[in-house]
Symmetry: C2
Subunit: 142 residues, 2 copies
DNA sequence: TTAATTCGTAACCAACTAGGTTGCGAGAAA
DNA sequence: TTTCTCGCAACCTAGTTGGTTACGAATTAA
């Protein structure tokens, strides 16, 4: 599926957790809101936990809580947690070093792709989890 | 592999074509510079042709030429040609409509992802194919 | 007309990613 | 001890991508 999907599911789950600060959210709860399987939710949550965005607790009354406040979590942090380490731009293609284009284009495009990804993350960083939560539960919008 | 790979290969091939304006570049030529198979190059070139960036000619002395000048082709156009139509952000997940988060988050995240992709393309649009070519063959840099 | 060249594309395979599912061990609370 | 919950491995399916072979269609040239 689209790589967007893991990101949107992760953000969705973070919003669910943020909206229930008084309790731990189980992978069953999260999966129910996202409409997927608890194991899939746990796989996403494991990536968020590795990035330090959520913490987990096993056993009865266990589940997941935010490790930072919703104001401290922006969507770029979630995207980075989900996407993992950036791989080399050119795998598996080593351009032909005999060709002048093959020789010179790799550093050019590596830098360009890096800047493009940076622009995407900068845009995502403009929105914090607290903004998402506020727009989901607008203050007295009725 | 990384989706970056198709984009970098496409840009690489466009640069090869731009550097040989006096002749048509065959899929064999392009594949040789990229270090891949002619059929793979033709698949990339088919996407570029559908987007109107290159034109093709069959038969002896045939091959590919740019359909626009290198100044008129920016890297966002190449990325759009390669990525194809943008799919729905949420496939295959329809969030649970019973959950308040599932109900409200879809339009929020659709807009956010759209803006993030737009920021990436805007960054790519800053570089034109002519810029790539100029940096590959710097004017009297020795 | 015939031959050679080149693209267009289908078919198949391998590798990788992702989601879905089952199962089970580890940790924690009642 | 029992129950709940995460952590994680294992397996399946589906989709994307690259690599390869093959062949038809278009074009050029002899």
């Amino acid at each position: 599926m689209a790589k967007n999907c893991r990101f949107t599911v992760a953000t969705h789950i973070c919003a669910v957790i943020a909206l229930a600060p008084e309790r731990a959210v189980t992978s069953d709860d999260a999966a129910g809101s996202v409409n997927t399987n608890p194991v899939v939710a746990r796989r996403i949550l494991a990536a968020l936990a590795r990035a330090g965005l959520v913490s987990s607790q096993r056993g009865p009354s266990g589940g997941y809580r935010l490790a930072l406040s919703p104001q401290e979590i922006d969507l770029a942090a979630i995207a980075r947690a989900i996407d993992g380490a950036e791989g080399p731009v050119f795998a598996p293609h080593a351009p032909n070093p005999v060709c002048p284009v093959g020789r010179g284009i790799q550093p050019l495009l590596t830098e360009i792709v890096r800047r493009a990804d940076g622009a995407r993350l900068a845009e995502l960083a403009k929105t914090r989890l607290s903004d998402i939560v506020a727009r989901l539960a607008p203050p007295s919008s009725g």
